[in-house]
Point group: C2
């Protein structure tokens, strides 16, 4: 089977790759800055994150339209088709990572006047450092088609989940100690959950790299450590 | 431009449509049963919802594989290509609706021994009735390619968001009244958020129907009424 017939197809794929890489850069930055804004109670940084999401949405639209056009016009086969489908998937995950980071940024204003406990904010920040690092690694793996690096990221999603679980219990305990903590703790709970979901989308990208390299869609059961769905904390415990 | 060349293409598309419709039925049922299990504290119904998600995941995999194969083999153009791309998108949204319903079902066990306030559980149930109705309507619109019905669903997403906002404030107030409410209220908060997100995915499907009918990817700004990101509630307020 011929690889691809026209050399302009390479140019089109190169375009897609460049735009995915640009989206990845924006999503990474938003992930880091959203929780930095939270930690510093920096509302103008939060606004910048909220604005950046528009760029991400626009890029996703462009990538989707370009990819669909590419499939229609060039009718790619095998690995070229997979790369085009993968671009659609990865851009979808990056767009949702942007939404989640934006949602964290929006909560900076809500908790600004409630002097949230720094210890817990730092817990969320720590989760986000992990998530940002994994996102960076998975984007590098995508750019270099490095299947092993993608598998490494996939294996590490459990770390973020484990952090989220312990933070979840800590937040509940904190709320029970003092009702004045409830409002900001609820927002931090959603922030932590959002970062945990950023980790899930990063894992999705790792799975897409697997698909791109092998043609198989799934890699097996995820190493999930999120047991918070079942968690309960008793008052005074 | 010829519509499509081979009649077996129609059979393939018909297959995709039938599988989407099956996925839709499962997702709808899961959405309703997850909050019913919550309201009745019915752990065995919750288990059934958790199990049903496996069927949804398997169907999504089949649809994705079939659609990609279809694009590669048949190289569809124009509306046939759009329908194939749409099948991938809709199956993705339905799969995530299933994940969200499963997550609600998992929390039934967590709050089973905490006798959650019925008033609030019924609030979540009310949200889920709305979400289930809109999901049904959007799936009917997809099956009959009814653009107007899709636009109607799209317009109505604001109702679920508005319900979520008032429930969010109610839950916070409830937590502040008594620390024994905190644990189950936190779980109900995530349940409500999950149902709100089921509404978002339903809106995505409405947008996909727009794309399928018109070839344009986006419909404009969503009628978002979710202001809970900015909400604060003071103790004793």
């Amino acid at each position: 089977m011929p690889g691809h017939i026209v050399s302009s197809y390479d140019t089109d794929l190169e375009d897609l790759r460049r735009q995915i890489s640009e989206m990845g850069g924006v999503a990474e930055k938003m992930t880091g800055e959203a929780t930095l804004a939270l930690a510093r109670q920096d509302e103008s940084l939060a606004q910048a994150v909220i604005l950046a999401d528009k760029r991400l949405d626009a890029l996703q639209r462009e990538i989707e339209e370009k990819a669909v056009l590419l499939i229609a016009k060039r009718q790619p086969m095998a690995v070229d088709l997979r790369e085009t489908i993968s671009a659609i998937r990865v851009s979808g995950d990056l767009e949702r990572i942007g939404d989640l980071a934006k949602n964290v940024a929006k909560r900076v204003t809500a908790i600004a006047d409630q002097s949230p406990a720094q210890k817990i904010v730092l817990g969320v920040r720590h989760m986000s450092d992990l998530a940002e690092g994994q996102l960076k690694d998975v984007l590098d793996a995508y750019a270099s088609a490095d299947l092993k690096a993608a598998h490494d990221v996939w294996e590490r999603d459990g770390e973020i989940d484990a952090l989220y679980n312990s933070l979840f219990r800590e937040l509940l305990t904190y709320m029970m100690e003092d009702p004045r903590n409830i409002s900001f703790c609820t927002h931090l709970l959603f922030c932590a959950k959002n970062v945990e979901r950023i980790g899930d989308h990063t894992t999705n990208i790792a799975e897409t790299i697997h698909y791109l390299a092998t043609g198989e869609i799934f890699m097996g059961d995820r190493p999930k450590n999120d047991s918070s769905n079942y968690a309960t904390v008793a008052p005074g415990a």
